[in-house]
Amino acid sequence: MMLSDTARQKIQDVRKLYPSARGALLPALYIAQREHGWLSPEAFRAVSRELRIPEATVRGVASFYAMFHKAPVGRNVIQLCTNVACMIMGAESLVDLISKTFDVQPGGTSPDGRFSLIIMECIGACGTAPAMLVNTDFHENLTAGNILDILERYK
């Protein structure tokens, strides 16, 4: 899986926004991740080549950050918060409900590849807890009554 020309161009554009090539590493990893949904060994190699940063460094940095996926993920990524404000408003029962309904364990992907489920620390929606991000969409004030309808919209 090589990077597309558009992605490579985007990396070169973002490179100009920083005084060092290294500064552009996180944005470049995001660009690469958007191409295939995760960061494959080829993606690491391509980013390394684009920015002229050693591949081991690229890999090492990516490993530090929770939002870079080092393994394939499902077509839709559910990021559900279970931190304190969400927990006291019932987030844990939602984890069980999602797991059962879509056959996906926290940290895993459903066998049909439709959903990955990631347990999050606070996502900044504590006043409307419990909350989750599905891909890049916020969904707040979740209940056992509304969460499945919301998820059904993601195919």
Binding site: V61, A85, A125, G127
Partner: protein
Amino acid sequence: MEKALLANIENPRSREAAFYVEKGGYESLKKALEMEPKDIIEMVKKAGLRGRGGAGFPTGMKWMFASGDPKFPKYLVCNADEGEPGTFKDRPILERNPHLLIEGMAISGHALKAEYGYIYLRGEYPEAKDILDAAIREAEEKGYVGDNMMGSGKKFRLVVHQGAGAYICGEETALIESLEGKKGQPRIKPPFPVNVGAWGMPTIVNNVETLSNLPLLIRVGPEAYAQIGTPECPGPKLFCVSGHVKNPGVLELPMGTSLKEIIFDHCGGMKNGKKLKAVIPGGISTPVLPPDKIDCPMDFVNMPKHGSMLGSGAVIVMDESVCLVKVCYRAIKFFEHESCGKCTPCKEGVIWLRKILGRIEHGEGREGDVDLLVQVAANMSGRTFCPLGEGAASVVQNFVKHFREEFVEHISRKGCPLP
């Protein structure tokens, strides 16, 4: 009090530059560009503005240190990492009032002679990334920022840099490492970022809310600004309230508003007629308070006198149905997940705390476990490289201090006594 930080955010046009300008936006930047940088810094000092990111450091003093350093270029970095659990106060500014932040940063850029500003935005706010990018583009097109700010000949360029899910990157030196494309692990201080920051250059890191205070401060002047809030901590403050209150949400109130008033007046009191059991007043790292200790003014100076901290102004309200051992356990799991691994007292301490709390919560607690918890926390305290580890220790110490019986009961009854 008329809203300054959350002004007009309910309006569907609140993100548009034209709307922002209709409401008097970018006037303060215009005024600031006619002033000498050092006079603006003087104004900020006189107004008594303190950083809203958690530590409450006087902003004017930080700016003076940075501007006193002869090295150039200087970088202005906006801390929009907002990772402290319970905190969602910067999000309405980022998503609904982006030009307020841009104007605040442009004023700061001029005052600090920084031509480059980075907004370090947490990865969990993808919508804010698009909104900020669009707002910056619009502000550049209209000439408010860019190579010739409002015709002044001054340059200020802004870039949004996305974090990728690491709480420690909210700490300013870890943030700088991350901005430079490295793992977000804190640096030793000194040297402080104001002298040696991003790419070795003087770097000013300020929170979103801090920078968003600048347009108001310039508009009304330091004297009028200092009239808002408390004498030691002036200005408006955003409080974000979550948990078992009738009306949770983000409130803009004068600094120093009492915690009790926030919960019972501004948020309508407890939900479903239940009793208040505990409050975490400033984000999960700040000491928990029992109900009889909440009559305290929420500012950086008064909260420590009342046994806690203002932190990020993130109030988490818990009613009688909540198991505090479970809350403490969940909080420590968070610290375990986010510990950056740089220093042993934190890296290993949080694992031990989590293990002990886990067995207490799961009904396998042993006699002496409560004292063991306190002992592990005490051994971490004062020995960690950065405040994250200190925060973890203090969470345990304060939960046990105020709610010891609940921990003891879990052990003696082999599990949670609550239904």
